[in-house]
């Protein structure tokens, strides 16, 4: 029987990646007049900078913005004007205060799960930014605890499961990232459900696929029924 249901936040409960993508689009346009590089090359350079900075700055809007500034300076060999860098910082402030847009079906699903299970919200990233989004989502009261962590790895899941006071087999995590929300949970003996983000095509039926130790669903609305099935199987 599943007792604790943990869910990821960014791109599982609300849109996040689209905001970063939009910023990256604007970034390309901002840098273009000062650097003779193709969009692909620019994206690749930004990705390398982000990866290099991850160990120093972690996830989130501030670290992303510092990587944007650095990439702009490097790609333009210092020709980028200060006004363009100011625009990037202005954009960071915009991103931080951007409205939280829940994904379809999220509110109903979380409300329904809250009546049957202990719920934990578990998200990675910038502490203040994530707290602010949780508060603005209007969902905070439905969760028994909110865990904002710097990395979603096996030790982190072990710590959270222990803090919840349950056996790993009674813990289920649902989220859009195989690497962060599924594989480490399965590795520590927990249950995991993968809900990929950005299914942009129309689909009629919700599909539940059993994988090698976890499940994949294409809509969070299918989560309560899947959990009920697991509960009955025990």
């Amino acid at each position: 029987v599943i007792e604790v249901v943990a869910v990821d936040a960014d791109d599982t409960l609300w849109h996040n990646e689209t905001l970063f993508e939009l910023t990256q689009e604007r970034f390309r346009a901002l840098v273009a007049p000062w650097a003779d590089v193709e969009a692909e090359h620019l994206d690749a350079h930004l990705l390398r900078t982000e990866q290099r900075n991850l160990a120093h700055f972690g996830y989130g809007i501030k670290g992303f913005t510092l990587s944007l500034i650095e990439t702009a300076i490097e790609l333009t060999e210092g020709r980028i004007p200060a006004s363009a860098i100011q625009t990037l910082i202005d954009r960071a402030r915009e991103m931080v205060s951007h409205p939280v847009e829940l994904l379809p079906g999220v509110r109903e699903t979380v409300e329904r799960l809250a009546t049957t299970h202990r719920l934990v919200l578990m998200t990675k990233g910038d502490l203040m930014d994530q707290e602010s989004k949780v508060a603005r989502s209007g969902l905070a009261d439905l969760f028994e605890r909110v865990e904002i962590v710097s990395e979603k790895d096996e030790p982190t899941y072990r710590r959270i499961i222990t803090a919840c006071g349950v056996e790993p087999g009674r813990f289920l995590m649902a989220g859009n990232s195989l690497r962060s929300d599924v594989l480490p949970v399965v590795a520590v003996g927990g249950n995991a459900v993968h809900i990929p983000y950005a299914i942009t095509w129309a689909h009629e039926a919700v599909e539940v696929v059993e994988r090698d130790g976890w499940w994949t669903i294409d809509d969070i609305s299918a989560l309560p029924d899947l959990i009920a099935t697991l509960d009955h199987r025990d």
Copy 2:
């Protein structure tokens, strides 16, 4: 009887402010060739920028760096070269990986307290940065829990005290900030000890002063005896 002792980290267990001050000194030198402003004016402008950005970027090195960049652009009216901005980002990476220097007496005091009380480390700031410092401090194992919070206000202290499962009267917080470590704790019915940072003059005797509902000591080494006195008084 005090059951849980919580301590602040930055400038209570280890040096922090000095690192920011050193960066600010370098910042002045970096901006000086491009802006005809006095150091005082520059500091005041930076402070205003930091305060304006606090609601957006929170505490920590990344938000500080974004404020430095913004201040540099504004004060030089955009004349600051990209290479100087790159220097500020390089400095941010340096700050993040700067060695953690414990304050005098900290290790012995925390080790001693860990044998008599449940210890909580409670710090504000950037999640990843603080976690990294706690890990590098070598003190992490002495604490029952590490709480990294975005704001140290009354609701936060209520939440932590509840999570510890004690009455507020059995909770004691020690730290260098009256605003963050003392006043909100007293307000929710807890005990608080103020340990001001940067006592640069030599002093022979450790002084314990009872204030209006809290205590002030000028050295963390005095904390175990003060707590023992409080315990005996009950």
